[in-house]
Symmetry: D2
Subunit: 341 residues, 4 copies
Amino acid sequence: MYSFRNDYSEGAHPKVLKALTETNLEQTQGYGLDPRCQKAADLIRVLCAAPDADVHFLVGGTQANLLTIEALTKPYEAVIAAHTGHIHVHETGAVEATGRKVLTVPSPDGKLTPAMIESVSELHSNEHQVKPAMAYVSNTTETGTVYSKAELTALRQCCDRHGLLLFLDGARLGSALACSDLTLGDYAALTDAFYIGGTKNGALFGEALVLPRPRADFRWYMKRRGAMLAKGRLLGVQFQALLEDGTFLDAARHANGLALRLRDGIAALGYSLPVESPSNQQFPVLPNAVVEGLLAMGYEFEVDHAVDDRHTLIRLVTSWATPEQAVENFLRDLAACTDPR
Amino acid sequence: MYSFRNDYSEGAHPKVLKALTETNLEQTQGYGLDPRCQKAADLIRVLCAAPDADVHFLVGGTQANLLTIEALTKPYEAVIAAHTGHIHVHETGAVEATGRKVLTVPSPDGKLTPAMIESVSELHSNEHQVKPAMAYVSNTTETGTVYSKAELTALRQCCDRHGLLLFLDGARLGSALACSDLTLGDYAALTDAFYIGGTKNGALFGEALVLPRPRADFRWYMKRRGAMLAKGRLLGVQFQALLEDGTFLDAARHANGLALRLRDGIAALGYSLPVESPSNQQFPVLPNAVVEGLLAMGYEFEVDHAVDDRHTLIRLVTSWATPEQAVENFLRDLAACTDPR
Amino acid sequence: MYSFRNDYSEGAHPKVLKALTETNLEQTQGYGLDPRCQKAADLIRVLCAAPDADVHFLVGGTQANLLTIEALTKPYEAVIAAHTGHIHVHETGAVEATGRKVLTVPSPDGKLTPAMIESVSELHSNEHQVKPAMAYVSNTTETGTVYSKAELTALRQCCDRHGLLLFLDGARLGSALACSDLTLGDYAALTDAFYIGGTKNGALFGEALVLPRPRADFRWYMKRRGAMLAKGRLLGVQFQALLEDGTFLDAARHANGLALRLRDGIAALGYSLPVESPSNQQFPVLPNAVVEGLLAMGYEFEVDHAVDDRHTLIRLVTSWATPEQAVENFLRDLAACTDPR
Amino acid sequence: MYSFRNDYSEGAHPKVLKALTETNLEQTQGYGLDPRCQKAADLIRVLCAAPDADVHFLVGGTQANLLTIEALTKPYEAVIAAHTGHIHVHETGAVEATGRKVLTVPSPDGKLTPAMIESVSELHSNEHQVKPAMAYVSNTTETGTVYSKAELTALRQCCDRHGLLLFLDGARLGSALACSDLTLGDYAALTDAFYIGGTKNGALFGEALVLPRPRADFRWYMKRRGAMLAKGRLLGVQFQALLEDGTFLDAARHANGLALRLRDGIAALGYSLPVESPSNQQFPVLPNAVVEGLLAMGYEFEVDHAVDDRHTLIRLVTSWATPEQAVENFLRDLAACTDPR
């Protein structure tokens, strides 16, 4: 039976594994100062149309989030996020562990809006309060929704008005790139920092952090938090493999496509998916008995929360590795679990 | 030309790469809760004769150091280390970044002794001073030296007398296992925490932290510092491959053997190696002209420091991947650089 | 004209000043280890019927909050508070500066309830999330409301069910003691930590933190955060003066009495006070023109926020030092500002 | 019997107490934004010939040290100090608690020299190490010695060459002002931050931190660490009282004079004072029997450390409050304890 639990349930895209194998015995300098990282960073700068950008390769998303926030803000400053933001909910206080406060606003769909930013900004005005300095958004969001170019541009303008930085968590940027009108160039132009998530889209691990305006001291922050990989070139090799020929986008398209197939198949069975997601995470509401039936068959997925006494919202995630047949089987088995009446 | 710069200049041992490839499309839970990590942890518990030990897989040494110190000490407590200790010199204040102070004692050979611990302990007695709570040692040390079982036992007894924990940084534990009388069982019996360094002995990356007495909350510390790998099973797969059939020890023996060949060949040419090292790091003193000659030929190594106006101490490191021929070539070229008189 | 801005707008109660003057040239040990602090601590233990309690004297409330939370929780743990909680809103991230997260729940009246605690607790279950470890309440609350003994007992029981500590911020404990059914003994019996706020009720400065269960290492936490007063006996002298003969409670009764006189006088003029406060803070809603009129006369008070385009909520605070005449004058002038129609 | 334990064993200079009493019922704004603090800050700017300087009033020295270091350096930066530096030895890791590392150099007399700074600077060159960013000195030092203007100027020039800030801990600045050629103007011209210690020279408590180049955000740092006194004007009142008419300098001269009388009397009895101190701390070496004799009589002082089996180094501290007679009595009793042979 298949696991729709997460997009990091498997290893690496075959192309990535091949590149790691082929370069395995090359001798290089450590800590990301090697030709492989250099080449991958150059490639990213080209793809982002950001010739001056700094690119740093990190192992995971929480690491990328805490480092970016720590390096770009002062101790007494704060980050504004939707209440669903990954840094607020699922990182065990990693941002607070750097001494920074996260200020949250309820968001119906996981997206942050200019109005939300303003509602927080205006409450913080003097030295008895933290000073909002950054807005944090994820694309795709934690609920599968996606920002449009117009929306991200409006956030940028709002941040400029309030002297805020804009940081975009791109743990699932691949999925977003494959289903929105935002390009890598747009992200580089509209944010102060964002990352291209490799872990959830084809890499063994790795997030490529892009800082459109270079900062000489970011590597000090990295090392200080144990976030500098000794064999740093592993990250360069993987991102080069994913980005040099479109594999990254293809992988995300594959995942999104199967997610939409899931969505449509589920809806066709009469179930609701309350949050409209165009990306590789889908959140259907199913009767508890159906959920139990699927689990009993061996399917794996995240049981998010009880909607009412008899219904549960679950999360289904697809990836570059999901076979089409797994999706079809799931829909078939879901139909079988579904009461005919 | 060959690089003797570091033992993490290459990728992974072929056996590790093979295991990663073979398991690539298995679907598992994330974050180290998968069967692969479980199996590797069980194997380590057996090898350590420590059936109750906690085993946590981490990506790198600085991460392992900062987490262990943060999790096992209180905010106002301090760690005692030799002045050469990696946490003091080469981790950009990662321990201080957790709010803990490192108290250092000058050490002629990189080793900590009971007398050194006592000289620090007796200076810290009240609430106006940090409270020493842990001794930190590395094996092999940062200068290539190695603790004997008698020495580590004496440290343990000293720590017990002063109410201190004993933490052993095992970034190069493989090399130490291959050239001292200490076994994995000894480390588990004599320390409160130690790790088996994979990065420098055959893995792509990875340190297996062993906590002989289990701690229910260590995973909270890991996640909070961004140190929980999403595809955690990558670590389990690698450690299983290295440890299940003796590959780990074989790899270290190979590295040590070539290092001793370097040492003997260098000494035979009349050069001194002031620190006696039985492990895979050797520190010869060479005339500046010879150092320049070797660099000009394309050899790579760490130029540690000037001994006097005309001589420099360099570091040569071998690994599981170093070919015997590279060592012989180096010795031949060193002889050629050496003035015949 | 009078300032109703805050209850720390003046110096010390005359009895306190007298005690400081009389003891000025006594020589004592520093840092709170003197006979004056000893005596004050003993007195507090008697008043609290808590013979084993630790008592620590601190200079201010933010200091007391950050230290208590840091000392009583682990790095990955979190504190649950009402969204109005002082630690969340008015301490510039002092709790986050210790690495701890504050989890908030909207509260209509500034009080925390068992249901609110449970709504947060049940969302935090694994190592990807902070672990709620403490509930934080203030008495009186930031909006002037007051917990009853039944309410605090219910919170205690809820905390016990969920393995949480209960910490009570007593910056305005005097005012609460003077208008609720909770005694010092109740606070000691029902909480894991609380403090008796001196700064806002007669002292030059000072908060007496009571830890019903002693903790040997609290002084290390104090010193490490710069919170150990060199001439510590100043705190002991003040608390002894305030507590030994009921001055503390008398001072609070005076403040509360005048606040209620303000409340009744304001209501009699037809203005609303949306939050029902029995304590020394009152929050009337006044027409903007009236607010401007009072400010123009020279009255000082906090302008909290705009209720609508034409009305503003202000805060009036009384203290042990407020003269009855100041209150009568204010009511007279408020009446004069008030449009007769 | 008299206590020579510390210069904060008593309360406040009578002039300070008088000023506090006279202003006790003035109503002012809190948190240091009142006319009293304004006036004291203006006075300090005049005395320092630094019209643009920021002046912040803090309660104690550890607070001043940790805040200045946190506010003026970045997380990965480090502070260079003599191994005797107060921040290294006697503040329970308060600087490390802000995440900053203290790098120490052995100093024979408690002073830092350009050569010491350079020996540390040259060892720290890349992102695997903390980055030295500030030199920390105390005047008077922890051993009673005093910097001359030439010495401080040389430190300034060294700091400029290495891109370092210079921070001077002035917990005993009064004593230094009274026995060296450095003026307040010199301190403002030569350092990036220094403070005028009130606690040890006439105030109840208080350190006036001077930042010659203003920093808009320092008050955020203060509040975040619980270092903003609610009744902030208490600090302004005290510093105005001490500085407006020379009381501060007079108090220090009194203390220094009696310390020199102690020194000369002790030396006349044949005892050595290994560190030459012109200031209010003296460190004689006495036979253990003599030390015990003095303690038995009821004298109080700090027993610093055993010099050998039979001798102990003690510390004697005088203050503005020390009566001349107490010194004469001590010398008489010391003579009596001294074996005639």
